[in-house]
Symmetry: C2
Subunit: 143 residues, 2 copies
DNA sequence: TTCTTGACTTAGACTGTGTCTATCTTAGGA
DNA sequence: TCCTAAGATAGACACAGTCTAAGTCAAGAA
């Protein structure tokens, strides 16, 4: 049960032209708790396909996001990160010190916590939660 | 009861040197539901003090954030925004279409929704929630 | 009040992240 | 096998933010 072959299959069904560049980008994004920046994706993709360009990585990531196969995550003010875990709803937990990101699953529906008096007439569809703290490794080094 | 004079007073007590540049930046940030980018702060500050430089605006905003008087908000992957409402805990509601940001106050403690089994050994101290949807104006234009 | 000094401000160079354009290449159907 | 539109490429460009070296000034000292 390889998730990436599933993905590539789905994309081909939607009329995606399957190039070696797109295949490599999709493979780089495989796994759990993967939150790479575009440059990190490019670096790893280039290990397998040295001539791949930055523009292609950006284009492919943008297409995967538009297709709903990958999530864009902006946990700091710096580079966006790309999260392949788009089919299971989840939130993120970020370490203040080292920036590590974990996918987490809070209880309850975060949308329910906003009373209608606090909705200002908006039609609200999503709630993103970013939990922040010190990870065990960084807490140990700081002690 | 002017909030900005309170702020300037507090800062002077902490040894801040009170320059016209810092005063103007603090005044620009006064108000409710204020979420300006650094460039917007610079533009408004320059209306009152034409020679103020970008570097000074960035420095001053950074100092205000470090002092806990202003919050840095990154709701999109683009420019950070600065929120002077740092003393009342709140979350943000963002319009998909026009990008408008409102301060909102959900019920309950967002930290409580994350079970310890989902904390991966982190010492968690904050939870930021971004609600997203269509504001009333944009919903009307889209119809 | 004037002097002094280190904190502050400035212009502009520089970096990182992301987008765009013009040209070249290629996947996949005919 | 050939054709062609979709895709890939290099590099210029744009935007957000940081850094540096030199000049300026707030506020305490005399």
């Amino acid at each position: 049960m390889n998730k990436m072959s599933d993905l590539l299959e789905r994309l081909r069904d939607r009329g995606w032209r399957l190039t070696s560049q797109r295949r490599v980008v999709a493979e780089v994004l495989d796994g759990d708790h993967v939150h790479l920046t575009a440059d990190e994706v490019h670096a790893r993709a280039a290990e397998r396909l040295p001539e791949i360009s930055r523009a292609t990585v950006y284009n492919t990531l943008g297409e995967l996001v538009a297709l709903g196969e990958v999530l864009e995550v902006a946990t700091d003010g710096r580079a966006k990160r790309y999260d392949p875990n788009a089919h299971r709803p989840h939130q993120h937990l970020v370490c203040f010190a080292c920036g590590t990101i974990r996918d987490v699953h809070p209880t309850g529906d975060p949308l329910a916590s906003l009373p209608s008096a606090e909705r200002f007439g908006f039609t609200i569809t999503t709630a993103e939660v970013t939990y922040r703290g010190l990870c065990a490794d960084c807490a140990r080094s700081a002690a």
